[in-house]
């Protein structure tokens, strides 16, 4: 079982990552600090359940995510589920950045998809993630940042794997739509790019 020194050292080394993760989830610095502190306290209490020390970071992130979701569930019970309606009214299900950017006739002379990604800054991606509805944001965090499997996400969120699959697909599509709109606003791409594919 990992000991106290291992735990304290790992927390110290990875605190920026935990905070960054919490900040993306809560979108609020004070709430992010509370989430990290509560997550780490919970992680210590559950340290005997950590089977593989190399999985410490995703393990703590998962505990934080569970804590965040649990708090949200409690809040939703009070507000009669109003918050999550936005997920099902989202129309971004099949949006693809690649399709917006790809220009087959330029195949041998240029690569607008790669140029787009090269121009994309971290802050652009963060802004796009923060603009996502909460369930999509959590799905992207768990799949693409924590690197959890669909089965692990299913267990954490207590929803079937099929729901996870669909939610991740929709979340990524919504993220790509946000990035596209952000890029249009910043002038990284022009409206004329649309429909060329």
């Amino acid at each position: 079982m990992p000991d106290r020194d291992f735990f304290s050292n790992q927390v110290d080394v990875n605190l920026d990552r935990f905070y960054a993760h919490a900040l993306l989830m809560t979108k609020n610095e004070a709430d992010a600090e509370d989430l990290v502190a509560e997550g780490i306290a919970k992680a210590w209490k559950a340290i005997e359940t950590l089977e593989n020390e190399s999985r410490f970071v995703p393990w703590v992130m998962r505990i934080m995510t569970n804590h965040f979701i649990s708090d949200k569930r409690k809040a939703r019970e009070k507000t009669k589920h109003i918050e999550y309606i936005e997920e099902y009214s989202d129309d971004a299900e099949h949006f693809s950045l690649f399709e917006q950017l790809h220009q087959p006739f330029l195949l041998w002379w240029g690569n607008p998809e790669k140029e787009f990604l090269d121009d994309l800054l971290q802050k652009d991606i963060i802004a796009a993630i923060e603009a996502l509805p909460e369930q999509f944001r959590v799905a992207v965090l768990m799949a693409d940042i924590e690197g959890l499997s669909y089965q692990e996400i299913s267990e954490t969120l207590e929803v079937p794997v099929g729901t996870v699959r669909s939610r991740i697909a929709r979340a990524r599509s919504a993220l790509q739509k946000q990035l596209w709109e952000h890029a249009l606003e910043k002038g990284l791409v022009s409206q004329e790019s649309e429909g060329l594919s």
Binding site: L15, L24, E33, A37, L97, H102, K114, D144
Partner: protein, 80 residues
Amino acid sequence: MGDEIKKLECEQAITMILEYLDKELPDHDHEAMDVHLETCRSCFSRMEFEKMLKGKVNALQIKKAPDSLRDKIKKVTGKF
């Protein structure tokens, strides 16, 4: 041995790219994607784009933890 790898059309492959990158496809579909991507430049480009975008999201480093949080954590871990 003996199980033939199924042939994918681009339309099918496109719907499977993200799960392919997540390593969440059943083995036979993953193998079919491997074969398709070896021969289809368009789907390969699309897969590479999605892979790069996924990598960018994965590599996000947002803000450093503030000193106030480090102090709070020291208090929490000090109690262990």
